[in-house]
Amino acid sequence: MNTTVANKKVRSRRSLSQNDRFTLSAFVGFPTFVQLIFLWIPALATILLSFTYWNGIRISDIKWAGFANYKNIFLNDTLFYEALKNNLIWLLWFSLIATPLGILLAYQIDRKIKGHKIYESIYYIPVVLSLAVIGIIWNFMFQPGGFIQGLMGRDIGNAVSIWGNYKINTYVIMAVASWRHIGYIMLLYLSGLKSVDPSLKEASAIDGATDWQTFRKVILPAMKPVNIIIVVITLIESLRAFDLVFIIYGSSTSWPLLNILVYQNFAGQGISMKGAALAVILLVLCIGPIIGYLRTVFKEDS
């Protein structure tokens, strides 16, 4: 039997016509080429440049710096630790609050609670906006002279400090970012839930499981592929966060994130390869957990 399967495989591979092969290699080759040119080569160049001093202009000016840029970041740059903290808060907030809330919403809407269509639309609306647009909207609301300040009867001079108030601005930014993230997760999860066989739910209900038990023991495991996507999205969204904060604070680093520091040191007025080193640190932070997570997931599968 084994041999017949093998034979079949061989035959099916052989049966690819010249045309098919061309199409296939074009489909595989072109994206690979684009990735190579626009992603891998620049990424490798960034890694190399992070070990140099350079102002980004003449190639001949590049000077070897060893680990000096990294040393400078880890030893002197207080902003780096602040940014790391903010990224971490973002990650924790998304993992522990925003994502679970999105899942909960999806579950409730899937159960067709009263008015679920309305809820679905309301939570879905922010998802169609980019974070940059969301930044513009909420900046307009909260900034001195903005809409909400106006409602409270505050003018610019005595406006409630929100973006510049370090006791609350983190939470405000988290709330604004979640506004979109919750809807996004809800949407993903909802489409996953719809594909779960309803008979599973019925069976567990007949067996006397509570709602919570059904969700945890039956539905969650059945949704494994969606769960993986959601974990990865939550991780990536938290680490790559940039646009929302950039719109609110501009290129100043009043509420630093790793990406904003990369921008400030790399694309700003004082180009230095400290930006490259920061980008590499961010790359490692992004890739590490995701590779780890995917590996454990695929191990379980096989």
């Binding site: 001093y53 102002n55 980004g56 202009i57 003449r58 000016d61 000077k63 710096a65 000096a68 040393k71 400078n72 030893l75 002197n76 740059d77 207080t78 902003l79 900034q143 001195p144 002279g145 003018d155 610019i156 001079g157 005595n158 406006a159 409630v160 400090s161 929100i162 973006w163 510049g164 108030n165 370090y166 604070y249 501009g250 290129s251 100043s252 680093t253 009043s254 400030q264 040191n265 694309a267 700003g268 007025q269 004082g270 180009i271 230095s272 400290k274």
Partner: protein, 435 residues
């Protein structure tokens, strides 16, 4: 470790005072302008207007049309976002830049000229002849090679701005706010009325640099300030600590949302009569005029008050602006020709006809038609014998914004951390690569 990192010595920064006193020799100069004897420059020229909205476009159109009428060369102009243009300058200049554009003298010109991104305009400056004072040319000269890469055109003073009517309201003489005590008294009395005594916004991270500049110059003098920014003095020096102590004295008079507002927020506070005074460059005066002539007439500027009698009010932040030419432009010679036109009498006249209210450095510029506020701006400039270009033009770009701007913001957040902040600032200077 801490020397020569700026690639710019102290020597270049001499006085522009001569220019402020200009206007006297406004006749004559014009004859020297025409580039006679030279081959005629031809071809379309690309011009970038750096911000300014409709006013900026109107001024550029007026000047560029006059240039086209004179030379027969077409000018293709576009307006670019000022901040984006600054932040991406190096990339833009390495791509396909517009031939000529408004730019800023100081580190931002010299460092980019050293990198070969800007074209040498020394010949054009020579052609402009005596209309530019020696001091103005000195201010535009790159110390690395003694050439000019910017044709200086305008500048503006950073000073204490307030409304005359509001100062009169608290029983003080608006024409006579000269000493630190006057200033504090003014802030105190304004605050008693329930207003902001001294407005500050630093959301952008650069606005408060002006306050640092001027207090440092008043307390420790121009020489110390420039040496500090060039790494020849230490940020942990007690003299620097003292500067921040003076800033701390002002915090109680400030609005409570410093890090929420930018320079336009400060402007609005003064425009809406919600604050007593603020320290800023007078470029915003046009906005007062746009609101009403009465508001504009009420606006006043004086030099930041004296703190240390040894230095009086001998220094001012007066960033020098001008026209630069991209070395990689499609029509470099055309760009130079257009840049020269912008600096010439005909160019200045066209700019003013287009609605420009800037102070021109050129002695071809007639100051007799100045209104009271502009005359006062000239007086404020004239009172100083040392000109700073503002912190982010007086020191290197990878130090100004990413390090000093952040340090000042952190100080405003938590003044108690001062010593830690200054130690860190010095450590970050020490870690900079040599240029």
């Amino acid at each position: 470790m801490t020397t020569e990192k700026n690639g710019a010595g102290v020597s270049r920064r001499t006085v522009l005072k001569g220019a402020a006193l200009g206007g006297a020799g406004l006749v004559g100069g014009g004859a020297l302008l025409s580039s006679c004897g030279k081959e005629k420059v031809t071809g379309d020229v690309h011009w970038a207007t750096r911000g300014g909205g409709e006013t900026g476009d109107a001024i550029a159109k007026s000047v560029n049309d006059a240039y086209t009428a004179k030379s027969g060369n077409k000018v293709i102009a576009q307006q670019v976002n000022s901040d984006d243009f600054q932040n991406n300058f190096v990339q833009i200049m390495q791509g396909t830049p517009d031939d000529a554009f408004g730019w800023m003298a100081g580190w931002r010109t010299n460092a980019r000229a050293d990198a070969g991104l800007l074209a040498d305009v020394s010949d054009q400056i020579k052609a402009l002849g005596t209309s530019l004072s020696a001091a103005a040319i000195q201010g535009a000269t790159n110390p690395a090679d003694g050439k000019q890469y910017i044709i200086p055109t305008t500048y503006y003073p950073w000073g204490l701005h307030y409304r005359k009517s509001m100062v009169a309201d608290i029983g003080m003489d608006p024409e006579n706010i000269a000493t630190w005590d006057d200033f504090i008294k003014m802030c105190t009395l304004t605050q008693k009325k329930g207003l902001v005594g001294f407005a500050l916004g630093d959301k952008g991270g650069w606005e408060a640099m002006g306050t640092f500049d001027i207090i440092n110059a008043r307390l420790n003098g121009y020489q110390f300030h420039i040496e500090l920014l060039n790494g020849k003095q230490s940020w942990t020096d007690p003299k620097v600590v003292e500067v921040f102590k003076y800033m701390e004295l002002l915090i109680p008079f400030m609005n409570k949302n410093i890090l929420d507002i930018s320079w336009d927020g400060m402007r609005d506070l003064l425009l809406q009569k919600k604050c007593g005074a603020m320290l800023m460059g007078s470029w915003f005066a046009n906005d007062f005029k746009a609101k009403s002539q009465a508001d504009y007439d009420d606006l006043w500027i004086v030099p930041f008050p004296e703190i240390n009698p040894e230095f009086g009010v001998d220094t001012i932040d007066a960033p020098l602006d001008g026209i630069s030419v991209a070395a990689n432009g499609a029509n470099v010679e055309g760009g130079k020709d257009l840049a020269q036109f912008w600096g010439s009498k005909e160019g200045i006249d066209a700019a003013i006809a287009g609605g420009d209210t800037s102070i021109y450095i050129s002695s071809d510029f007639d100051t007799s038609s100045y209104d009271a506020f502009n005359k006062q701006k000239l007086a404020v400039l004239g009172a100083a014998k040392n000109i700073m270009f503002f912190l982010d033009r007086d020191t290197r770009g990878d130090f100004a914004g990413p390090v000093v701007g952040v340090a000042i913001q952190n100080f405003l957040k938590n003044p108690k951390d001062l010593n830690k902040i200054l130690e860190n600032t010095q450590a970050q200077w020490d870690a900079l690569p040599t240029l």
